[in-house]
Symmetry: C2
Subunit: 359 residues, 2 copies
């Protein structure tokens, strides 16, 4: 295949219009391939005479040469590729994160591999292995589930990694998350200021760092306000369906004659959709009959009915910071790990209203 010419055939024509290699450029510029390599690589351009660099650059341009990331990567053991693992790209909190990360990485010359884990540990491991095969320079793990072996796998393949959105207990890995405690505090503070005294919490799935922190933040903020939690129920996942189930459980709580609470602090916007579903089913109106707060300010919750009061997290900043942390670790593996907490912000909309006067 390399050269199937028969003896006597004319010499092969100039590099085919498809693909020029560094050797082709070398021939065209009248220098050795290694010189071409040095001339074309900004980092080593200094090792080459100005004139040669120019001649090589022109030859490369003329031949339409493009580097082969595979060949370079094979030699340097760097693919200039970063992997991003998300549980489910359709969950609207992830696209902004991925997008921000991808944009920053692209500007630094990195390509981005994206994959969905479906929260399935086996699938996650398979994907990490595959990314390792592709020799990704780093991995961004969004919402790694508890008990995941992702970190061990990254260590096994020596892939720098950064956690996004969720932390993992006891692992020395950089993470970019939200200050969940503070965020929930904002929600509770807002409700208290509106006069609510019986406040419930619809918590996230146990074992997930965001759920734990928000749960604890809830108790803490309530205590600070001198109140007792009216009710707490854990959702089984961050889904609309889980929100429905949990909300039903909350409403079916101890007091059957009247709701035991006037407001509910929900651990996440997606759960709120389920909460809205249940309220609608009961003929209740969020805001008017029961104040509801969410978390994330995911896209379009400003458009639902009623617009959701929620805690806005810095989606894009999360992706950016994580990408930066990762690049820092790639450039200098000895970089100390960082645990970045982004400060969230209270967004007041119509799903929270002043508590009715207690009669």
């Amino acid at each position: 295949m390399p050269d199937s010419r028969l003896p006597g055939d004319p010499a092969p024509p100039l590099p085919p219009p498809g693909r020029a290699t560094i050797a082709d450029v070398a021939r065209a510029a009248g220098v050795h391939a290694s010189t071409v390599s040095r001339a074309l690589n900004p980092a080593t351009r200094g090792m080459v005479t100005e004139a040669v660099a120019l001649r090589v650059a022109q030859a490369a341009e003329r031949l339409g040469w493009r580097p082969s990331a595979l060949a370079a990567g094979l030699r340097t053991r760097k693919s200039r590729t970063i992997g991003i693992l998300v549980p489910d790209l359709v969950n609207p909190i992830f696209p902004p994160i991925v997008r921000a990360a991808e944009t920053l990485l692209a500007a630094q010359g990195y390509a981005t591999l994206v994959a969905n884990t479906d929260n399935d540990p086996a699938r996650e491991e398979m994907l990490i292995s595959r990314m390792a095969e592709h020799l990704v320079d780093g991995l961004m793990l969004a919402s790694a589930a508890e008990g995941t072996r992702a970190i061990e796998l990254c260590a096994r393949w020596s892939i720098p990694a950064v956690l996004i959105n969720r932390r993992l207990p006891g692992v020395a890995t950089s993470a970019v998350t939200n200050d969940d405690r503070h965020g929930i505090g904002l929600a509770v503070g807002h409700l208290v200021a509106l006069g609510h005294r019986r406040i419930a919490h619809l918590a996230g799935p146990p074992g997930v760092s965001t759920a734990i922190d928000r749960r604890e933040g809830f108790f803490e903020a309530l205590r600070a306000a001198g109140l007792e939690p009216a009710a707490v129920v854990d959702a089984s996942g961050y889904t609309r369906a889980a929100g429905q189930v949990a909300m039903q459980a909350l409403l079916a709580g101890p007091s059957l004659t009247m709701p035991a609470f006037t407001a509910v602090v929900v651990a996440n916007d997606m759960l709120c959709l389920g909460v809205y579903d249940v309220l609608q089913g009961c003929g209740l109106l969020a805001g008017a009959d029961l104040s509801v707060t969410g978390f994330n300010d995911m896209p379009f919750v400003d458009l639902i009915d009623p617009p959701l009061t929620t805690i806005r997290i810095q989606h894009a900043a999360m992706g950016r910071e994580a990408a930066e942390a990762l690049l820092a670790e790639i450039a200098e593996p000895a970089t100390p790990r960082r645990d970045t907490r982004l400060t969230p912000e209270l967004i007041i909309r119509a799903s929270t209203r002043a508590a009715k006067q207690e009669s």
Copy 2:
């Protein structure tokens, strides 16, 4: 890979640290590297004795060998990687497409590079070049803009490509799109059935295939119903802001005393958000005062106020079909190009109501 462990199951032990190459496996199994290669590759396993294959497999397992996608790709000129270009991953119609494609591709052993073009031709070309450098086996182009050189670039690098969501005039490239004409027809038919006679169209940006098809579909359906279009305005892009501007233009139309239309067929859901904004600003209510239909049924338009009547497209099927078409072309470049139109479906919600009796 058929490892579908349940959470809690004991995880298989991690292979020993370090990185084994095919040569290491060869040494361990007492055979030549080329034999290892053949034994490990399912396609060539048959060239090797059963016993040798087993011995090699065990050695590979024991050493924790993983293939190097870079090395293999360099040699075979196939990276087992597919690129997906979207204008903006944050636009909610894309995540379902990307996700479906990624899932199918992952099952076939492909990794997926995702990048955002921001509708910027220069950026798009840069990204395609970069993907070419990474030797992607194929490219999925979601919503390629008119006048893009993407197709030429793919041809230049001989990268099989498939268009998603939008077609491009005059290019012989497979495409998976929606039957936009039919979809708009459903919307018009629905409004006509509700008694509307003065129907306007808020069209998409000129030059974009979806906008053109929907525009034409609108005229066609109206003609079929024996009606004249009440008004038509083009939006400058598929964005909420463009929707606002276009809606204002529609309302400021010829008749200043009364709206010249009782219903508006909008080219896309995102534009509808702008339409809602304007209506709200005028104290008008979608549904009650003016019927509105969208297109795409993007996530969460069922939750906005009022829930949007729209045309549901098959997001996931679009990603899947496109991935399949692409894989077919990769496997057999002579595969005839296909132009797949997916049939959309009318989803009736509260933004459309029976026309008020004309007095």
